[in-house]
């Protein structure tokens, strides 16, 4: 049960000084972590928003195209809608994979060093 889990170690960790934070922020190692996050998350955010807006705009201004039937009563609009679900699931999975491989190890290394007071 949740309430019985051991307390996180962070509660005992010491908080680094402002100078240490500034030093780390300017370090190459942190710069790389920042770049790994931003170069992945920012373009992807713009990408899925554009993809979503494409669906909204096509719904508004391309009724004929969206209404075209593909199989039985299933039309382009329906498939487009379902594809939005699929792309959301895929992007969530992709980001989590990226974070586990590229972000977590770097973040963990910096955190451990700073809280260890080295």
């Amino acid at each position: 049960m949740a309430a019985e889990a051991p307390p996180p170690s962070t509660q005992k960790a010491k908080l680094p000084t402002p100078e240490e934070f500034t030093e780390v922020q300017e370090s190459a190692e942190f710069g790389e972590l920042r770049r790994s996050h931003r170069s992945f998350a920012f373009p992807l955010t713009i990408g899925f928003i554009v993809w979503y807006l494409l669906y909204v705009l096509l719904s508004n201004y391309a009724g004929g195209f969206m209404g075209a039937k593909l199989v039985g009563n299933i039309n382009v609009a329906f498939v487009f809608g379902v594809l939005q679900f699929v792309s959301t699931f895929l992007i969530a999975w992709w980001y989590s994979k990226h974070a586990a491989a590229k972000l977590d190890p770097k973040a963990e290394a910096i955190k451990t060093r700073m809280e260890g007071g080295a």
């Binding site: 309430a3 934070f21 920042r34 996050h37 807006l53 508004n60 299933i74 679900f85 969530a92 974070a99």
Partner: protein, 542 residues
């Protein structure tokens, strides 16, 4: 008497024959959740327990609770109704509500968990002058939550009139008051711990109920979705247009603009909803916050896919007149579907109706509790402890303030609940999304990612986004000048769109930028270093 009225009366009669069953199901949920609340209340010792549930929930537990907090009456009653009446156009809600989670996942959840403590204001005020920014954050938290509460209360009123045949204002107010009292009890006694467990129970019930109805609908059409859509189109009387975009919003350029505005508000709102954001504080670290968002995306996505069966199923099996007669905005389509799928004259139909209504009621209660917790936390932590007491309040005093705030917000939302009962609850929630996306999201993103951002920028974007979003709603057809408006008899609507997002969201971003570049004070570089390192690495996280 028209056939539609006969049917609705029948529905109410069927329901009233089985009133003991309905009341038993309601009572079971209320007793179980009150038990959880009392148990959680005993375990709530310090502020971290009250505000953040002790930060020891697992990613899956929190994912379930996030889903519970997110899938409100709007998702369940509102979307089903919007699809049942307007076909494909109603489906936009499902898509927007889901895609929006990617903003939270990619940009907000983890940094927020790493750098905040109890509230959204913790992150917004991190590197700013505390008192003005916390006041602003607390104000926008409470305003967004009250818009959202309004929608839930409208849903509660609608359900009760369907189920118990109560159409008198006094009866509805009584039920809304009951919801209000329960939410005050949940939140003030159980805090975040109790509320989180209530969300989990509710999420399981809602998903279970939805799977059941979806299965029964699909069974009726031999799992052929094309047949389901075909029957829905035919029965709606609108033919193929029912399956195409444009039925609700396609009339002219203005309504198309409204559709775009709604679409933008939906996709950008989620990551600015305070009651969702504070859920990330209930897990031990940012990695668990990420995993809980993934769980939530899976659960919520599955649920919204099923809204296709709920909405089109209702359109296929129930006449449009009956849906509209029961509630002009379609809010009762889902419970009516349960009745029809089981058989209008059969006990099985009545049992399904009772079950689905109890699920909807549980949904409303849980979301209302989550919203109340978010706003009372923000009042106590941001405004009382940090602004009024200037950081000198003890934890005990802060928690006492939170409990009093709960009572106050409960009373306010009971009072407002009666005003909005004929509006589609999904549309009402979309307004909360627009306000959140205009006032909160720009400030969150600038704070986390823009080095130069200043206190003045934060204040301009919160207040600018808030005032424009709420102002435009006030002068929109939602409030006046429309038969379905809150005040249908007066007309002071000069803003033509029902959702303000397309204006207010860019305005919020613009004001944040403008306030920053025009500001005379230098940004606090040291504090930004601290925030940036903390938000990406979790160093020193609570």
């Amino acid at each position: 008497m028209s056939p539609a009225i006969t049917h609705v009366t029948l529905a109410a009669n069927e329901a009233s024959e089985h009133r003991p069953l309905i009341i038993t199901l309601f009572a079971l949920f209320v007793v179980a959740t009150l038990g959880i609340t009392v148990w959680a209340g005993r375990q709530t010792k310090d502020a971290a327990d009250f505000y953040a549930g002790g930060r020891q929930f697992s990613a899956f537990q929190n994912g379930l609770a996030v889903s519970g907090d997110y899938m409100s009456a709007a998702s369940f009653l509102g979307i089903a109704g919007a699809i049942a009446l307007f076909g494909y156009d109603g489906f936009l809600y499902s898509i927007g509500f889901l895609v929006a989670w990617l903003v939270a996942l990619l940009l907000v959840a983890e940094p927020l968990r790493n750098s905040g403590r109890y509230t959204m204001g913790d992150v917004l005020a991190y590197r700013m002058r505390q008192r003005p920014v916390r006041t602003a954050a607390g104000t926008s938290t409470i305003v967004v939550s009250i818009f959202y509460l309004l929608a839930q209360m409208a849903g509660a009123g609608v359900l009760v009139s369907l189920l118990l045949g109560i159409t008198s204002d006094a009866g509805k107010i009584l039920i809304v008051a009951l919801v209000g009292v329960l939410m005050i009890v949940y939140v003030s006694i159980g805090g975040m711990k109790g509320t989180t467990w209530v969300q989990m129970v509710k999420a399981v019930l809602l998903i279970g109920g939805t799977i059941l109805i979806t299965f029964l609908v699909l069974l009726k059409f031999n799992f052929n979705i094309s047949d389901l859509l075909g029957k829905a189109a035919e029965n709606s009387g609108k033919g193929d247009a029912f399956l195409e975009p444009g039925l609700q919003y396609g009339a002219d350029n203005l309504t198309k603009l409204d559709f775009l505005s709604l679409g933008i508000a939906l996709v950008l709102g989620t990551a600015g909803l305070p009651h969702i954001l504070i859920r990330f504080y209930t897990v031990p670290n940012a990695k668990a916050a990420r995993k809980s968002v993934n769980w939530a995306i899976g659960i919520i996505g599955g649920f919204y896919l099923m809204t296709i069966a709920l909405g089109f199923g209702a359109a296929a099996l129930i006449s449009q007149e009956e849906i509209i007669e029961s509630n002009p905005s379609g809010n009762t389509a889902a419970p009516l579907l349960a009745l029809h799928i089981g058989g209008v004259d059969s006990a099985w139909g009545a049992i399904l109706l009772a079950t689905i209504s109890a699920v909807a009621f549980a949904t409303i209660l849980a979301v209302v509790a989550g919203l109340t917790l978010a706003s009372s936390s923000s009042f106590a932590h941001d405004i009382y402890a940090n602004v009024i007491r200037k950081g000198k309040a003890t934890e005990k005093e802060e928690m006492r303030a939170a409990r009093w705030a709960t009572v106050l917000i409960g009373i306010v939302s009971i009072a407002l609940g009666a005003l909005a009962r004929d509006l589609n609850v999904a549309g009402l929630v979309a307004l909360a999304f627009a306000v959140a996306a205009s006032a909160n999201l720009p400030t969150i993103l600038y704070s986390l990612f823009w080095k130069r951002f200043t206190t003045q920028g934060a204040l301009w974007s919160i207040y600018g986004g808030l005032i424009v979003a709420v102002g435009l709603v006030l002068f929109s057809p939602v409030v006046s000048g429309d038969p379905k408006a809150m005040f249908p008899d007066v007309d002071f609507a000069w803003f033509p769109l029902k959702n303000p997002g397309i204006i207010s969201i860019p305005f919020g971003f613009l004001m944040g930028w403008l306030g920053t570049v025009l500001s005379k004070e230098e940004p606090d570089a040291k504090k930004y270093a601290e925030l940036e390192v903390r938000s990406l690495t979790g160093t020193g996280a609570h």
